[in-house]
C-alpha cells in the first residue's frame, strides 16, 4: 500500500510540477486533518465489529452548534462566550455518541441502523439550529471580543511558522493518541479480541458494553473536534453535507486493512488509507480532472485497494498455515 501511494504520488509529481511544492504539500497535509481524526476513531468502532454512520452529521452539528451559540444567530436566541459555546458543541457530540451506544447496547439495534437514524437526526438538528445560515466570526454582528477570535483561530487556522496551520498539530496528536490506545493499552487489545470473537469475549467476561460505549463516544467526539477545527481553519461554517465525509472516512478505514466483520484494523493502516484518499483528491484536483471524474477515480481506487488487501491477506494466511503445519509436523500437539 505504501508503495502504491508512492507510485501515485510520483505520477502526480511528474504530471504536475507543483505537486511536490511546499505549498501544495501543506494543503495536502491540511486536507487530511479532519478525515484522519475521524477515521482513527472510526477504525476502533469497526475493529469491535460495529460501524458509526453518524460521524459526518455530528461533524457538522458540532461546528454549527458551537457557531450558533457563540455568535448568536440561527435558531438559538442567546449568545454565549466562546468557551461555553465550545463546551456546548462538544456536549452535543458526546450526547450523539452516548445515544449511539445506548441504542446499540441497551436497545439492541444493529449499529448500522442506530447510527443511520442518528445521522438523520443530527443532520436535521444541524439545519434547524443553523437555520441554513453561514457563520463567520470575523464579520459577525455583533463582533465577538478580540481575544475570543484569536483563541478560536489558534485552534485550527493559526499559522505556526512556515505556513503550517495549527490544525496539523491536532492530526499528529490524534495519530499518537489513537496509536497508543489501539496498540499499547489493554483497551485496544480487548477491542481486537471483542471484534475477533464476540462469543468468546462474552465467555471471558470482557466488559463488552462499557468498551463499546467508549468507542462510540470517542468516535462522536472525534467528529466533533474535527468539525470545530475545520470551522476554525476555514473561518466560517454553514450547512454541510454529511454523506461525502462519511464515505471518505469508511473508505479510508477499509482501505487501511480493517475488516468490517471486526477484529482487524490498525492506526497506521488507517493513516495510509487517509493519505491515499487525500492524495487522490489533491492530485486529481491539481490536474484539473474535475470533480465528476475525480469521484470515479476514487471509487475505483477504493475497490482495487481493498481487493489487493483481501488477496494479500489470503497469501499471508496461506503462508501462516504452512508455517503452522511445519510446527505441528514435529509431533502431535
Amino acid at each position: 500500500m505504501a508503495i502504491g501511494i508512492c507510485v501515485i504520488a510520483l505520477t502526480f509529481g511528474i504530471a504536475h510540477p507543483q505537486f511536490f511544492g511546499l505549498g501544495n504539500q501543506l494543503t495536502l497535509l491540511r486536507s487530511m486533518v479532519s478525515l484522519g481524526i475521524i477515521a482513527f476513531a472510526q477504525m476502533l468502532v469497526i475493529l469491535v465489529g460495529e460501524i458509526d454512520l453518524s460521524v459526518g452529521a455530528v461533524y457538522g452539528l458540532t461546528a454549527v452548534g458551537t457557531a450558533a451559540l457563540w455568535l448568536g444567530g440561527g435558531a438559538i436566541p442567546v449568545s454565549a462566550p466562546l468557551l461555553v459555546a465550545l463546551a456546548f458543541g462538544l456536549a452535543l457530540a458526546a450526547l450523539a455518541g452516548l445515544l449511539n451506544g445506548f441504542l446499540v447496547l441497551r436497545a439492541g439495534l444493529p449499529s448500522f441502523i442506530a447510527t443511520l437514524g442518528l445521522l438523520n437526526v443530527t443532520q436535521g438538528l444541524q439545519l434547524l439550529i443553523g437555520n441554513a445560515a453561514t457563520f463567520t466570526p470575523d464579520y459577525n454582528e455583533p463582533l465577538p471580543p478580540e481575544w475570543e477570535r484569536t483563541v478560536f483561530k489558534l485552534l485550527g487556522g493559526q499559522e505556526i511558522g512556515a505556513g503550517i496551520p495549527s490544525e496539523i498539530i491536532w492530526l499528529l496528536f490524534a495519530l499518537i493518541l489513537f496509536w497508543f490506545l489501539r496498540h499499547r493499552t489493554i483497551f485496544g487489545f480487548r477491542l481486537v479480541a471483542m471484534g475477533g470473537n464476540p462469543e468468546a469475549a462474552k465467555v471471558a467476561r470482557l466488559p463488552l458494553a462499557k468498551y463499546k460505549y467508549l468507542v462510540f463516544l470517542l468516535s462522536s467526539l472525534s467528529a466533533g473536534v474535527a468539525g470545530i477545527l475545520d470551522f476554525s481553519y476555514v473561518g466560517s461554517v454553514g450547512p454541510s453535507d454529511a454523506g461525502s465525509l462519511l464515505f471518505s472516512v469508511i473508505a479510508a478505514v477499509v482501505i487501511g486493512g480493517a475488516s468490517l466483520n471486526g477484529g482487524r484494523g490498525t492506526v497506521l493502516g488507517t493513516l495510509l488509507g487517509v493519505v491515499l484518499l487525500s492524495l487522490l483528491n489533491n492530485g486529481l484536483a491539481l490536474l484539473g480532472v474535475g470533480s465528476f471524474a475525480q469521484l470515479l477515480f476514487i471509487g475505483i481506487v477504493t475497490i482495487v485497494a481493498v481487493w489487493i488487501d483481501i488477496f494479500s491477506q489470503r497469501l499471508i494466511r496461506r503462508a501462516g498455515h504452512r508455517a503452522a503445519e511445519g510446527a505441528e509436523g514435529r509431533g502431535p500437539p
Binding site: H183, R184, T185, I186, F189, R190, V192, A193, G195, G196, N197, E199, A200, A201, V203, A204, R205, L206, G263, R264, R317, G320, H321, A323, A324, A327, E328, G329, R330, G331, P332, P333
Partner: protein, 507 residues
C-alpha cells in the same frame, strides 16, 4: 481434594423441565463422565455448573478439606472452542488476564509454563486462524488453567479431533484430574466414557438415573442399557431388511466417474434398491463420491439413470441442513414444491402446510411441542429427524445422506436408521456415507469401500458374520494402502478402534 456438591437443582424453560431435583457429588482425582440422550439436560447442567445460567432452585457448593470455598472457578472447554482466531496463542492467553494496563498486552508469568505443559509453546506466536482445532482446544484449556479453575467441564471435546489428538487430550484430562481438579467429560461416545472415566453419571429427563462405575465395572453395555429408555424396543433392522440379493435392477449406474477436484478416480458401480454404505477414511474420496451422487459436485464420467431418477441429498453438518430462523413445521416442508404448498397456486395454503407438517411429526417420530416451535428448540437428534423428514417428504427415488448420526444419541440413531429402512422398502435406494463400522454393519445391505480415491471392494453385508470381521476387513484395506496423508492416517486408525465403539444395537 475438592468436592462439588449440587443439591436438588431445578430449571425449567417455559413448559419444559430441563432439570428436576438433580443432586450430585463430584470429587476431584479422576475424570467423571456424564452421559445422556439428547435433551436429557446435559447442556443445562453444564451451563448452571459454570455459572452461565442460574438454577431456579437448589444450590451448588465447593468444599475443600471440609471447609466451604467462597470463591471458585469453573471453566468450560466447549465443543467449539471459544477463542480468538485473529490473535496469536500468547495473546489469546492474555485476553482478560492482561498483566498491565499500558504497553503491549502480555500474558501472566505462568503463561510460558502452561504453554509448555500443554505442548503449545511452539505455536506461541502463530495466529489461531492458522492452527488446528486441537490447538484451539488446548488454548481454551490453557486459559482455564491461567484462570486457576477448580473444575473443568469438557463438552464433547473430541467430536472433531483425530484419534491421536483425542488420546493426548484424554491424557491431559487425566493429568488435570490428578493435579486435584474436578474434571467432567460430557460425550455421546460410549467408548470414550469407558476409556477415560472411572465413574459415569447417566442423565435422563433432567435427573440422574444411574451412577455407574463406583461399585461395578464400567462397560459400554452398562451405559447403553441406562441410556436407552426402553431397550426392549430394540429394532432389529436387519430382519426388516428387504431382499438383500443384488440381482435387483440398478437404479443408477456410474461409469468410470471421476471427481472434478480429484478426490476419486475412475469409479464404476451400480446402485440398487436398498442401503448402500460408502466406507472410507477422510481423504479416501468416499465422502466426495456421496456428494457427487447427490449432485453436489462436478463429476467427469457418466452416471446412467441420473436424469430419470430423482435424488435428494442431506449434508453432514446441521449448519447446512437446518434453517434456524424457521419453525419445526416450516423446516419439514421446506423442500416441497408449489404443487404441495400452494393451492390455489401460487398462494401458500397454510392450513394444508400445517396438516402436512403435523402428519410428519408423527410419521417421523419427532418430539416437538408443536409445528410452530422454533426448530432450534429441539434437541440435536430431533433436529436431525426433521432434516431427514424434509428430505424423505420429497419422495425421491434415491436418498443420499452424509453422516446422519453425527452427535446424535443412541436412541435417535436407531430411529433415523429405521426411517431409512422404511424408505427402502418401497423399492428405493439410500446411499450413506458413514464412518462408524458397527453402524454400517447393522444398517447396510452393501458396502462400497474406497481407498485413496479408488473403489477397492464391494462387500455384501449378509456375507459378513460379525461386526469384528467387518472391522478386520476394512482395516485390511487401509493397511494395504499405507502412507496416505498425515491426517488420513489418524482417521484410518479409527476403523480399528471403532469395533469397540458404541454399538447401536445394545445387548
Amino acid at each position: 481434594m475438592i468436592v462439588l456438591t449440587a443439591s436438588s437443582l431445578a430449571k425449567r424453560y417455559g413448559a419444559t423441565r430441563a432439570l428436576t431435583d438433580l443432586s450430585l457429588r463430584l470429587q476431584s482425582g479422576s475424570v467423571i463422565g456424564i452421559a445422556g440422550p439428547n435433551g436429557a439436560g446435559k447442556s443445562t447442567l453444564m451451563r448452571i455448573l459454570c455459572g452461565e445460567e442460574r438454577a431456579d432452585s437448589g444450590e451448588i457448593t465447593f468444599t475443600q478439606a471440609g471447609s466451604v470455598l467462597s470463591d471458585f472457578n469453573v471453566a468450560v472447554v466447549h465443543q467449539e472452542p471459544q477463542v480468538w482466531p485473529n490473535l496469536t496463542v500468547r495473546q489469546n492467553l492474555a485476553v482478560g488476564y492482561e498483566t498491565k494496563s499500558f504497553g503491549r498486552a502480555a500474558a501472566g508469568a505462568d503463561a510460558d509454563a502452561i504453554m509448555e505443559m500443554l505442548d503449545i509453546a511452539r505455536f506461541a506466536d502463530f495466529e489461531l486462524a492458522d492452527l488446528s482445532l486441537a490447538v484451539h482446544q488446548r488454548v481454551e484449556i490453557a486459559r482455564a488453567m491461567m484462570h486457576r479453575a477448580d473444575a473443568f467441564l469438557f463438552d464433547e471435546p473430541n467430536s472433531a479431533l483425530t484419534d491421536e489428538e483425542s488420546r493426548s487430550l484424554f491424557a491431559l484430562m487425566q493429568q488435570l484430574a490428578q493435579d486435584g481438579k474436578i474434571v467432567l467429560l460430557v460425550t455421546h461416545r460410549l467408548n470414550d466414557l469407558v476409556n477415560a472415566c472411572k465413574r459415569v453419571l447417566v442423565l435422563r429427563d433432567g435427573r440422574i438415573v444411574a451412577d455407574l462405575g463406583e461399585n461395578d465395572p464400567l462397560t459400554e453395555a452398562a451405559i447403553a442399557a441406562q441410556l436407552t429408555s426402553s431397550p426392549k424396543q430394540n429394532l432389529q433392522l436387519k430382519q426388516q431388511g428387504v431382499d438383500r440379493s443384488t440381482t435387483t435392477k440398478p437404479m443408477l449406474r456410474l461409469v468410470s466417474c471421476s471427481d472434478g477436484a480429484g478426490a476419486f478416480r475412475d469409479i464404476s458401480m451400480s446402485i440398487a434398491p436398498g442401503i448402500l454404505v460408502l466406507a472410507g477414511v477422510e481423504g479416501s474420496g468416499a465422502r466426495e463420491l456421496a456428494r457427487a451422487i447427490g449432485g453436489f459436485a462436478t463429476t467427469v464420467g457418466e452416471i446412467e439413470g441420473q436424469r430419470e431418477r430423482s435424488v435428494v441429498y442431506v449434508a453432514a453438518s446441521r449448519r447446512h441442513t437446518v434453517f434456524p430462523n424457521l419453525s419445526v413445521g416450516e423446516n419439514i416442508v421446506i423442500r416441497l414444491g408449489a404443487s404441495q404448498l400452494a393451492s390455489p397456486s401460487p398462494w401458500l395454503n397454510h392450513a394444508r402446510i400445517a396438516r402436512r407438517a403435523r402428519a410428519c411429526l408423527a410419521k417421523y417420530g419427532i418430539k416437538a411441542g408443536d409445528i410452530s416451535d422454533p426448530v432450534t428448540s429441539l434437541s440435536g437428534g430431533n433436529q436431525q429427524k426433521v432434516v431427514l423428514g424434509a428430505a424423505l417428504e420429497k419422495n425421491a427415488d434415491i436418498l443420499v445422506v452424509e453422516e446422519p448420526t453425527r452427535g446424535v444419541d443412541v436412541a435417535s440413531k436407531r430411529d433415523i436408521y429405521a426411517l431409512m429402512r422404511t424408505f427402502c422398502q418401497g423399492g428405493k435406494a439410500v446411499v450413506l456415507f458413514c464412518t462408524e463400522v458397527p453402524e454400517m454393519f447393522d444398517v447396510a445391505d452393501k458396502i462400497a469401500v474406497l481407498s485413496r480415491g479408488s473403489l477397492v471392494d464391494e462387500i455384501a453385508v449378509a456375507d459378513v458374520p460379525t461386526v469384528t470381521d467387518l472391522v478386520d476387513l476394512l482395516a485390511r484395506y487401509e493397511a494395504d494402502n499405507p502412507g496416505i496423508v498425515h491426517r488420513g492416517e489418524h482417521r484410518a486408525s479409527k476403523f480399528s478402534h471403532a469395533g469397540k465403539s458404541s454399538h447401536i444395537s445394545s445387548p
